[in-house]
Symmetry: C2
Subunit: 325 residues, 2 copies
């Protein structure tokens, strides 16, 4: 097995990417209060987080701006209102979904933008479109990533071809994404080995974005980082769609780089996350997500089940099972 | 790395040990309703679970029987009232803590008892006393285990000596116990390798009992089982002290042996576990447990913090930190 670094040392190449607003926005339609966003920005700076993802650059043609909070669209001015000239060590990231972004209109020259990195989310069959966005953003001066979603549904040959294609592009970082939270550490390590081989060949970074359906988001993240994966997505208290993501507080507890501090993040959790829970926002590990994860299915049925306040887990299991046969 | 079995196959040597009553009893002082216990027994049988641990054989001299439910003492007759002659594939287990059991008085011949296995929990410095109980129980006809607690606090040389001593005894199974939920998969694999070497040398089984302080109980369990660990402790919905244990429903989702069925367990969760939560019983992963786990400390401060309904995580972090320096 590949191994990079020791448990007691730290790797300076590690980057923690806070996706709380972006993945969390999928839970509350991006309606975060301004205080939440400003306090998160400050907490991230104090905690030594490397990137903060503010949300999506989603198309205003396709999505009704009155139905979503501003972080689905991430106008540069909205980011500037929070970060000013961002004279800090924290870089700013946004995500663009293939087919759901007017990137030529909405992404300007990096010189005029507070954004440092554009991450492009794609399924395996839309990689040429993803590369088009990456080439555009790279020329505009941004760091770029390609995040291949739902990789647990892809076959090995397609994935190999896709990784070669991406490897030859100008993208900086390629992400392993366990969209359905269905992958076990053993499978994650095999994937990481595959991605890291491409990284070595073409001089890329590899990132990981894990979901917590089987309480494996943190385990999968640290297992692959031990092998050389260096861009680590996490969210405060797992906030994210369905079972949520790798919790930043667990990740910072593991990382040994003295630049990281857990304490400001704990303060943020006290002030903001407990309130979200009290207000009834639903996310985080629960039985229905375990079941969709186990079946390697999209979490949408589990999210609906939770919204309806149902607890007939056995029936839900058989409902999911029936979809497979 | 040692490897036994494949992800798609199953190992017939695997045994799932349900510790819901025993570890869960530490949360509610063993006051389970009779319906809870009877339904759990039936669910375990239907789910293909291998052992059900009913609780402790605790000393009635040392503990006030009016302050605990009956499963802290596990009188044979109380077990018989649930299982009759237990004409099933499910074996019955109890735990005896070194120094807290009147084993000579309370553990009779196996021929006259519904119990199949006695598990002896010990710290590393009381292993001779643990071996005394094991020798006694083994002669009485029981399967036996030794569970070395708080192994994350032991030094390697002491542990090597202890494992040699236990290896030469008549015990059947030796348990890795991550009492504080502080061990990462990489550390767990190293421990498992050490224990499995002893198992090979002396013909023992190795078991694992994990805690979920860092959301790693399931990951650590499946990582070590992949290496050859075969006795797997779990509890329904993690029910157990502090952050709880490896959730049985996740474990059954992973195991490929067709004897295991998740559906009866899901029914049990619907009927009983959701009610316990509604009644205010507190267990399962939360920030305070993550922090004691990270500091490799006993969870008692975190349990107290949760009981008091506190959410000042940052202060709690500094309180734990101050205890270390």
């Amino acid at each position: 097995m590949l191994k990079k670094g020791e448990l007691v040392s730290f790797r300076p190449d590690i980057k923690v990417v806070d996706c709380t607003l972006r993945d969390g926005g999928l839970v509350n339609s991006f309606f975060f209060t301004d205080d939440f966003v400003k306090d998160l920005y400050q907490a991230n700076i104090k905690s030594g987080i490397d990137y903060m993802e503010f949300g999506y650059k989603a198309s205003k043609e396709q999505f009704d701006t009155s139905k979503f909070g501003k972080w689905k669209f991430c106008d540069d001015q909205d980011i500037i209102d929070v970060v000013g000239d961002n004279d800090t060590g924290l870089k700013i990231s946004v995500m663009a979904d293939v087919g759901r972004t007017d990137f030529r209109r909405d992404i300007c020259d990096k010189a005029n933008s507070p954004i440092d990195m554009v991450r492009v989310a794609t399924y395996i069959n839309t990689i040429p479109s993803a590369l088009e966005i990456v080439e555009y953003c790279s020329k505009k001066g941004y760091e770029t990533t390609i995040n291949i979603m739902a990789v647990s549904k892809s076959n090995d040959m397609d994935l190999d071809d896709a990784l070669e294609l991406i490897g030859r592009s100008c993208v900086d970082t390629i992400y392993i994404v366990d969209s359905y939270g269905s992958l076990y550490p053993e499978q994650m390590r095999r994937l990481a080995e595959k991605y890291l081989n491409i990284a070595d060949k073409y001089g890329k970074n590899i990132g990981i974005h894990a979901h917590n359906n089987q309480q494996l988001a943190f385990a999968n993240t640290i297992e692959t980082l031990t092998m050389g994966v260096s861009y680590l997505d996490s969210t405060v208290s797992s906030l994210g769609r369905g079972a949520g993501n790798c919790p930043t507080e667990l990740l910072l507890g593991f990382l040994k780089n003295p630049k990281y501090h857990i304490s400001p993040l704990l303060k943020f959790i006290e002030q903001h996350i407990t309130k979200l829970k009290e207000e009834g926002l639903i996310w985080g590990y629960d039985i229905p997500y375990l079941l969709t994860g186990r079946f390697n299915q999209h979490p949408r049925d589990a999210i609906q089940f939770m919204k309806e306040g149902r607890t007939d887990y056995k029936d839900f299991y058989h409902f999911l099972y029936d979809k497979e046969i």
